[in-house]
Each structure stands twice: as C-alpha cells, then as structure tokens.
Symmetry: C2
Subunit: 214 residues, 2 copies
Amino acid sequence: MPTTSLEGLVAVGGRPLTPKGRATRQRIVETASRLMLEVGVERATIDDIQRVAGVNTSQLYHYFADKNALILAVIDHQTQTVIDLHRVSLERVEGFDGLVAWRDMIVDVLRAQQCIGGCPIGSLASDLVETNLDARRALQASFSSWEGLLRDGLSTMQDRGILPSDLDIGRAALALLAAVQGGLLLSQTRRDTVALEAVLDNAIDYLRSLSPSR
Amino acid sequence: MPTTSLEGLVAVGGRPLTPKGRATRQRIVETASRLMLEVGVERATIDDIQRVAGVNTSQLYHYFADKNALILAVIDHQTQTVIDLHRVSLERVEGFDGLVAWRDMIVDVLRAQQCIGGCPIGSLASDLVETNLDARRALQASFSSWEGLLRDGLSTMQDRGILPSDLDIGRAALALLAAVQGGLLLSQTRRDTVALEAVLDNAIDYLRSLSPSR
DNA sequence: CCTAAAATGGAATGTCCACTCTAAAAAAGG
DNA sequence: CCTTTTTTAGAGTGGACATTCCATTTTAGG
C-alpha cells in the first residue's frame, strides 16, 4: 500500500524535509488544491500549478513522484480542511439550533465564494472515482470521516432525547452528507444557494419531525 | 446564441443530413455520451470516441465543429435520456406509492450498472460547470426540466390533498433533485446504493410527515 | 568550515491530443 | 445519367502536457 505514514514529511524516495522544504511542499499542495477545485483535476496542469505556486519543475518532482501522488496529497489536504471546518461546527451540536448553525455555515461558505467551486471533496470525487482507484478509496475514507462527524452530532442529540433512540443514526448521517453534496452541486450549477438551502432545510425538518421532545 | 433549433438534423455549416448521416451522427453522440459518463469529459478523447464509434476524423468533424460542439450535443442527448426515463416514472405519480416507485427505479438503475457512472447529467455538470459557460447554461436548463417533472408530480399530489396546499412545491422538487444528485455521488464513490436509498427515503418520509391525509 | 544531503534551476524529450487538409466514394435529385 | 452535395478516408500538424535529466545553490550537522 502506497500510504504515506506521516503526511508531508518526506520527499520522493523517502527523503526527509527541512523546514524550507516543508513550506515549499505545502505551497504546492495548497495551490494544486485551489486550482483543482477551480478548474478540475485534469485541467489543473502541472505547469499552471508550478507557475501559480512559484516553483519550478524540479521542485514539484522533488516532492511528488508524479501527478498522481500530488492528487493524493490534495485529497488529504482537502479532507483535512473540510473535516476541520465541520468539526468546529458539529462538535457544538447538542440540538436543532446547532444543526441549523451548521447548515448556515455551509450556505455561508458557498455564498462567500459566489457558488463557485462546490465541495472540495465532492468535486474531487466526481473527477476521480471512475478513473483512479487509489483516489476513490481515499475519497471514500474522507466521506467516511465526515459522516462520522455528523453521526457524533446526531448521537449527542439522541443521548439528550432530542432524537428517538431507535433512529438509525448512521443512515441519517449518510443522508445528511448526501444532501450537502447534492445541494452543493445544484447550487454550483445554478449559481445560487437556494437548492442547498432547500435540501438541507428539508433534511433537518425531517429529523425535527421525528423528535419526541417537540 | 449558438442553439441548434432542430437537434441532429444538420452538420457543420448548417448542411442537411441524409438518413445515413443522421445515423452516423447519432452513433457518435451515443458513444461520446457513454465514454464521457464512464471516464469524464476530459479523458474521453476524440480518438477514443472515433475508435469506439467506428468512424474517422473527418466524419466526426463533419458533424461537429469541435469537441465543444460534441459536448453540447452530449448534454442534449443525456438530458433527453434522463428526462424520458423520469417522465414515464413520474407522470404516474399520484401518491406516495408512485414516489416510492420512482425512488426504486433510480436505485435499480444505479444497481444495474454496479454503482458505476453516477448521474449522466450530474457528472457532466461536475466536469463542466466551472470551465464551460455554454455547458453550464445547458445543464442548468436540464436540471430545470427534471425539476419541472418532479414539481408536476408533487403538484398532482397536492391537488389530491396528499400534500398540504401551502407547501412550496418548487422548493420541495429542488430538494428532491438535490437528494438524487448527492445520493448518486456518494453511492458512486462507495460503490453501494445505501447512501442513495437513505437520502431518498428520508426526503420522501419528510414529505410524508407533512401529509394531512395520514 | 567542510562535507553530505536537500533544494532549486530550467532546458529537453516524447507522447498525446484536438484539429486541418486534400481527396475520393457514395448518394440525391433533376 | 450527369451534376451537385453529402459522406467517408486518413495522413499530417502544431501545441500542450507530464516527466526526465544534468547542473547549481543552499542548508544541515559534525
């Protein structure tokens, strides 16, 4: 398995990184992440990434064996970004207010970027699932973590009696995640947040309809 | 506006098509549609499409000015396919049974293709929204038609008193469509239909929770 | 300091890919 | 039939793109 145990701490060939090297590598990954989100994985050229990141060919290939390795690093990076963002929002969820705040956060983020770009993980998934097995597996794991965050939030609500104890939390979390993905894709296409708002509101209202304490 | 008024009836330069020409054009569009769905728009090479469709370069460029024109034809074709499929399923919707049958149809189709490929329109959208304005507009229209089909179904239910008269049908239709898209993307990534089933079931159950007659 | 390793520089290579061009075969239609 | 249009043939082109290679500069650590 070509897994990097410690992220971003080695270059090609397992060579260690100096602070400077780590910074360069980081800059490449961040630039690649942005470009791949903006124009897709295929259209984000190595040349483009080089130019925007301000590095040259050797630097890029010093830190990544090939474009595929860079793609996998981008997946890790975007997963980290999304998970961090949603963790702070979801770990405070103790009731429907928290869930609504989470919904608002997602909508606000999309609006802030003018409905451009969609989901950092979802768009990678769309680009890569059918043509890159390693990527598909990594993205599956990303979705899993994200789903886990949601499950934890719902679980807290369940413990507090806000959701029925016989509710299948895992399934509900998966449905919420799907709602986010679909809402983002539609909103990205339509360039307005209505679709995202509608699907998330309905998903949350559905849970509300199950709530015993209401 | 570069709209083709009558689909598939002219070659480049507005030339009319003989039956033979129409067949060739059709074969190209169908092959391109399949390949673009399977490997994405970028990776579906003109060469690949030629080889699989059994045509040569001249034939392809006789019917399509460039790859972009082919892409737009593929969008039209896939839209037609999806709309036709969902119309037969949705125009019978008069109650929740019909909605559930529609859900089952979507799940069955995905299962039949082993969760490979995702949504013919959704994956085009993901590939093209950020880099191809004409495509984005066309796909926006595709989603709109699809949404209209759903709205009609919900409207029938509303007329029959199965859904409350004050329900925002448009918003509900949009949410359902988003659920389909998100469910398909997740299921495609996970290679199982659970995500699609979960999000659609919840979306339908939400509508059920609003139903006066129940 | 001095040496080994890491980081940077950038030209060069070969493949892939969308698209063009010239020409011939087939079909329409008067 | 004979002319015009449509369809098929397929070699060729120029650019884009991922990757390689050789060389120099910078940093780490004893």
